[in-house]
C-alpha cells in the first residue's frame, strides 16, 4: 500500500549550522515526504536509535564540522549492527571529493552532496532509490 517516504534529517557532530539541514527538510516535506528533524549535535548513537524508533527509509546527515570521516562511517556501522542496512544514507556538507568517494565506496553512504546542490536532485535520488528497494 502507498505510504509516504520517511526521512530522518540529523546533524552529527558539534557544529551548529543547521540552515542547510532545514532547507533540505523543507524541500523533502514539499515533495510529500515525512521528515523527522532531530536538530543539531547528534551522536551517531542518537541518530541510529532515532532512525530505528521512527522506522525511516532514509537518513540524511548534514555535517560541516570536518569530522565526517569519523562520524559518518560510525552511523552506517551502527545501522548495520541493528540490521538496518536497507536504510538509504545520504550526506551533505563540506566534504572533499576524495572523502566523498571513500564514503560512497567503503562506508555505505549512497550519495554525498556539496554546496549548491539543487534540492530537486536530492528529492529525485531519494525517490529512485527508495522505490528500488521496495
Amino acid at each position: 500500500m502507498e505510504r509516504p517516504i520517511r526521512v530522518l534529517v540529523a546533524k552529527p557532530g558539534l557544529d551548529g549550522h543547521d540552515r542547510g539541514a532545514k532547507v533540505i527538510a523543507r524541500a523533502l516535506r514539499d515533495a510529500g515526504m515525512e521528515v523527522i528533524y532531530t536538530g543539531i549535535q547528534q551522536t551517531p548513537e542518537m541518530i541510529v536509535e532515532a532512525a530505528l524508533q521512527e522506522d525511516v527509509d532514509v537518513v540524511g546527515l548534514s555535517i560541516l564540522s570536518g569530522a565526517h570521516m569519523t562520524l559518518l562511517p560510525r552511523v552506517t556501522a551502527l545501522l548495520r549492527e541493528q540490521g538496518m542496512e536497507d536504510v538509504l544514507v545520504i550526506a551533505g556538507g563540506i566534504i572533499s571529493d576524495d572523502d566523498a568517494r571513500e564514503l560512497r565506496e567503503r562506508h555505505g553512504i549512497a550519495a554525498v552532496y556539496g554546496p549548491g546542490t539543487s534540492t530537486q536532485e536530492i528529492v529525485r535520488f531519494i525517490r529512485e532509490h527508495v522505490a528500488q528497494k521496495a
Binding site: D30, M33, Q53, M84
Partner: protein, 314 residues
C-alpha cells in the same frame, strides 16, 4: 504472526515496523492488531494537548524523565500536522526530547496526522496499542498544536493534560472554550513568566463556573516550568492521582468503555471506507467525486448506496 511475537518479546525494531504497518493500514495491520490486542489494556494512556508553542514536547520529555526516575517505562507518540497540499510533514518533536535518547525504557515515535483533523492521527490509537502491548507502562500522546476542535485525544486517553501559558490574553478564552471540558488537569507552563497568577486564577474561575466535574474529579490547575523541570513531579503525581481516582470510584470502566466505543467507531469508519475503495475502481471513484462536485448527486445518497448490501444500479 512473527512480527507480533517479536514485538511482544520486546524487539524495538519490530515495534517500530509494527507502527509503520498500522499507520499504512490494510490486512497485515489488522492481523498484527488482532495478535497483540489481548496484550493491551495495561498502560496508563496520557494525552498532552494545548496550543502550538505552549511547551507540549518539552513537558512530555520532562514527564518521561520524571517517570523514568520512578522506575517506569514510557512510550511516546508525538503527532504533528501533514501539509494539506503535499501530504509531507516536518516532525520536529524529537528536538526537545533529546534527554531520553539512548534510554531503553523510552520509545518515542513521531507521527504525521496525514490529513486527519481532531488533533491526532488515524493510527494514533493503534500505535498506542502496540506500545501498550510491548510493555510500556505509560504511553504519552502529544497532539498537534490544538485550537478548539482538537479534542479527540480525550476519547483516546485515560487522563488528558491541557497546557496553557501566561500572557496569551483574550486569545486564550477561545482555546479554553474548546479544551476546557476535556482537561483532567491543567498545567500553566512557562510559569517563570509574568502573568502566571492571573492565568491560574482565570482557569480556576472558569472551572468553578457552573461546570460539573467529570467523574467526581476536580481538575487541578498546576504550574510548571517544563524547561527547567520545576513543577514537573507534581504534574506526574496529579496524573497518577487521576488514574487512582478513576479506579477508586469505579469510573475507569466507564472511561474504558468510552474508549472502546471510540475505537470501534473508528474501525467501522475505516473498514467501511476501505471496503468501498476496494470495490470501486479509481475511475468510478473520480466519477462519483465529480457528481458531487457538480451537485448532480449528494454525498449522503452516494454513501448510502455504496454501503448498502446491494449496490444500486447507477
Amino acid at each position: 504472526m512473527e512480527l507480533a511475537e517479536q514485538l511482544l518479546s520486546g524487539s524495538r525494531r519490530a515495534l517500530a515496523r509494527g507502527i509503520t504497518l498500522v499507520e499504512t493500514g490494510g490486512p497485515q495491520a489488522r492481523e498484527l492488531l488482532r495478535a497483540v490486542y489481548p496484550h493491551t489494556g495495561r498502560a496508563h494512556i496520557v494525552g498532552i494537548t494545548g496550543a502550538p508553542g505552549v511547551g507540549k514536547s518539552t513537558l512530555v520529555s520532562a514527564l518521561a524523565g520524571e517517570w523514568r526516575r520512578r522506575g517506569r517505562s514510557v512510550g511516546v507518540v508525538a503527532v504533528d500536522p501533514s501539509s494539506p497540499f503535499t501530504g509531507g510533514a516536518i516532525l520536529g518533536d524529537r528536538i526537545r526530547m533529546q534527554a531520553q535518547s539512548g534510554d531503553a525504557g523510552v520509545f518515542i515515535r513521531s507521527m504525521a496526522n496525514r490529513g486527519r483533523l481532531g488533533g491526532i492521527a488515524r493510527a494514533t490509537g493503534d500505535a498506542v496499542a502496540l506500545l501498550d502491548a510491548a510493555g510500556f507502562e505509560l504511553v504519552l500522546v502529544e497532539t498537534v498544536g490544538a485550537g478548539q476542535g482538537e479534542v479527540e485525544i480525550a476519547g483516546a486517553a485515560h487522563t488528558t493534560v491541557v497546557i496553557d501559558v501566561p500572557g496569551m490574553g483574550d486569545d486564550v478564552q477561545a482555546i479554553k472554550a474548546g479544551l476546557l471540558e476535556i482537561a483532567d488537569l491543567y498545567v500553566v507552563n512557562k510559569a517563570d513568566r509574568d502573568g502566571v497568577d492571573a492565568t491560574v486564577k482565570q482557569l480556576r474561575a472558569m472551572l468553578h463556573m457552573g461546570q460539573r466535574s467529570r467523574d467526581g474529579w476536580q481538575p487541578p490547575v498546576l504550574t510548571a516550568v517544563a524547561m527547567s523541570g520545576e513543577g514537573v513531579a507534581a504534574v506526574a503525581d496529579a496524573v497518577e492521582q487521576h488514574l487512582a481516582h478513576l479506579r477508586a470510584h469505579g469510573r475507569l470502566e466507564e472511561r474504558l468503555r468510552a474508549r472502546a466505543a471510540y475505537e470501534l467507531k473508528q474501525a467501522i469508519e475505516e473498514t467501511a471506507l476501505m471496503s468501498v475503495r476496494a470495490r470501486v475502481g479509481a475511475q468510478e471513484w473520480e466519477e462519483l467525486v465529480a457528481q458531487v462536485a457538480a451537485r448532480t448527486a449528494d454525498p449522503y445518497t452516494l454513501a448510502a448506496s455504496l454501503l448498502g448490501s446491494e449496490r444500486q444500479p447507477r
